[in-house]
Symmetry: C2
Subunit: 367 residues, 2 copies
């Protein structure tokens, strides 16, 4: 039994060679049995036995090299602490795990160079595919996306013509839902706390807010608009600035973190929510339900978008020849205590673009 090459690595971990030698079969047979394809009952027994005895576990890297797939899928988001991404991640992880793959998470911090570097690194094939949710999109991004050698799915807006799988929502319309609701419940001095205007969601929400006010014939008051970034602290600070110069009776916030900051600022300033100021957040994360009062929020279907993105990605991994697809998840206003209709003269909604679907709030305000 002359063996051609060293079969036992110095670190003593068993390989398929070890198992084969011990079972007295060829590595080909061993491999076949271990993969459950073929093998006579006798060899199956011998190989299984030998594998169990030496505690054989196949090496994932060697397998990947051979099969040209790693079983890994990456997700790149700006901020892993933002609950909206947590929800998205959970949904993605569920789909990815059910396909027997694992999820690799990158936090980009929203830095462009970081993101493109990540995309370019895809070329080394450490991962089978990637889901990315950029908040800023540059040309550099687009080229990196289009000539990525592994499948990429984008969550969020993208240039209309880019031939890249893409699942988006309509946050313009989302803001409109919020404004419609506030107007319908009698609010008129509606403020807006947004994220940076040079981000895709920031710009879309700004446009949505202006359009919605316009549609209701409410003149735009720049004093009622503030901008920070998409974080709690910025939301709170922005709201403090806004309150220092204006007196809103309602506030729309570009995401839930900002809304939580705004709530804090409002309460510190002695405003009652919703009696003095109604508050509507965006993303409808679990954070909205944790607050007191619970926050109304426009769901942008983050979990659903995540789920769809993961499915698109898996399909594309399975078949690279698929045409690029684009899916859209509609926004959906969830009304809770923070914008309950407590103004003296609430009027029924009129002329709003489609009746907002509302989930019943689990609780009202306890006065």
């Amino acid at each position: 039994m002359g063996r051609k090459r060293l079969q036992e690595p110095a670190d003593g971990r068993p390989t398929v060679h070890t198992v084969a030698a011990r079972a007295g079969v060829s590595i080909a047979s061993a491999s076949r049995v271990l993969n459950g394809v073929g093998g006579s009952p006798e060899t199956i027994r011998k190989v299984r036995e030998a594998a169990a005895e030496v505690g054989y576990v196949p090496n994932a890297i060697a397998r990947s090299l051979q099969s040209q797939r790693t079983g890994l899928v990456a997700l790149a988001v700006e901020d892993i602490g933002n609950p909206v991404y947590v929800e998205m991640m959970r949904a993605i992880e569920a789909v990815v795990a059910s396909s027997g793959r694992q999820l690799l998470v990158h936090a980009t911090g929203g830095r462009i160079d970081n993101e493109t570097a990540l995309l370019r690194r895809l070329a080394n094939r450490y991962v089978d595919g990637m889901i990315v949710s950029p908040i800023r999109v540059t040309d550099d991004h687009l080229t990196a996306l289009t000539d990525s050698p592994v499948p990429v799915v984008v969550v969020g807006q993208l240039g209309a013509d880019a031939p890249i799988d893409n699942v988006r929502t309509d946050s313009r319309h989302g803001v409109a839902l919020a404004v419609d609701h506030l107007v319908a419940t009698g609010r008129r001095r509606i403020g807006f706390v947004n994220g940076p205007l040079d981000t895709v969601p920031g710009a879309a929400r700004d446009a949505g807010f202006r359009a919605a006010l316009d549609r209701h014939g409410i003149p735009l008051d720049d004093e009622l608009i503030e901008v920070g970034d998409f974080q709690y602290a910025a939301g709170r600070a922005a709201t403090e600035r806004l309150l220092a110069r204006a007196d809103p009776d309602a506030l729309v916030c570009a995401n839930d973190l900002i809304a939580v900051g705004a709530l804090h600022a409002l309460l510190v300033a002695g405003r009652r929510v919703p009696q003095d100021v109604a508050l509507v957040g965006m993303d409808d994360t679990e954070l909205a339900r944790m607050m007191f009062p619970q926050l109304s929020s426009v769901s942008l279907g983050s979990a659903e978008r995540g789920r769809r993105a993961a499915e698109l990605l898996l399909q594309r991994i399975a078949d690279a020849a698929l045409p690029p697809r684009r899916e859209q998840v509609p926004p959906n206003l969830v009304v809770r205590a923070s914008s309950a209709a407590t103004l003296p003269t609430p009027r029924p909604a009129a002329g709003s673009a489609g009746p907002p679907t509302t989930h019943p709030s689990s609780e009202g305000v306890t006065a």
Copy 2:
């Protein structure tokens, strides 16, 4: 120039063979140049040029197979939505990234089988090391940990004798800090909302609470103790149950999510915080600062523990022969508005185990 094997893969992506052929050198020379080791000026030029022309990117998997390291580090935690793990993850990611590696995140959902499966899967070497923060520890765990073929660092308590790198805190003492503080500010009917007692942190915190009351000579009232799991909803429900049968003047919660749930329940029940009930959470996550009033919380140094764990792991990856180490991060009470001393007869702390270090709260209660 007869070539021995097919050099151009069907998918047309360049390999080191492509580059070598194009540059007119051997693959060994090409590899050497691309790795920046050796090569004459002339070959360096030719190879660099050829690589640039074909857009060569080395294949990470093949490299891993050869070098026996993947450049990946895994983190397994129960719930990726819990802000305490987000903070820990951020710290770990920072360390890991600065070593040129990437972080792979697993959510175990606290299910034992899930966790041990993950540990056993390590045997296939898809990752260079792993940080795991189990909330339950079984014998199965321990054996899986000890005979893991790749380095593992545990964040959290572990059997005293287990020869595994381990960074822990003293949450018993953490609870004591909270109780001391509440007693010192005049509270006597101190309730406790804990997580499951069959988890390591749950058991430790329970023991800490009982010991602290005992130390202060306060009789234990089982009516004032409730148990849920470590989530917001459970904390809220548990607090509702507690309030239905008892009348605490303070509440210690086993983590911040529970504390947020408790705050919600208290406010819904019409109790003022901190005037009627003082509230102290645990973990000191950003959530504590987001609430109104801001929550006092016992920091267990999650970021610090994460950072240390990552460093231990990297060191062990570099040198497997290191003796097992154990590090400890002390808890630290941060007092904020939710437990401000507003009772009529606050007395100074006496006999408490070491003066609690307190960060000044960024704001008081606005009455």
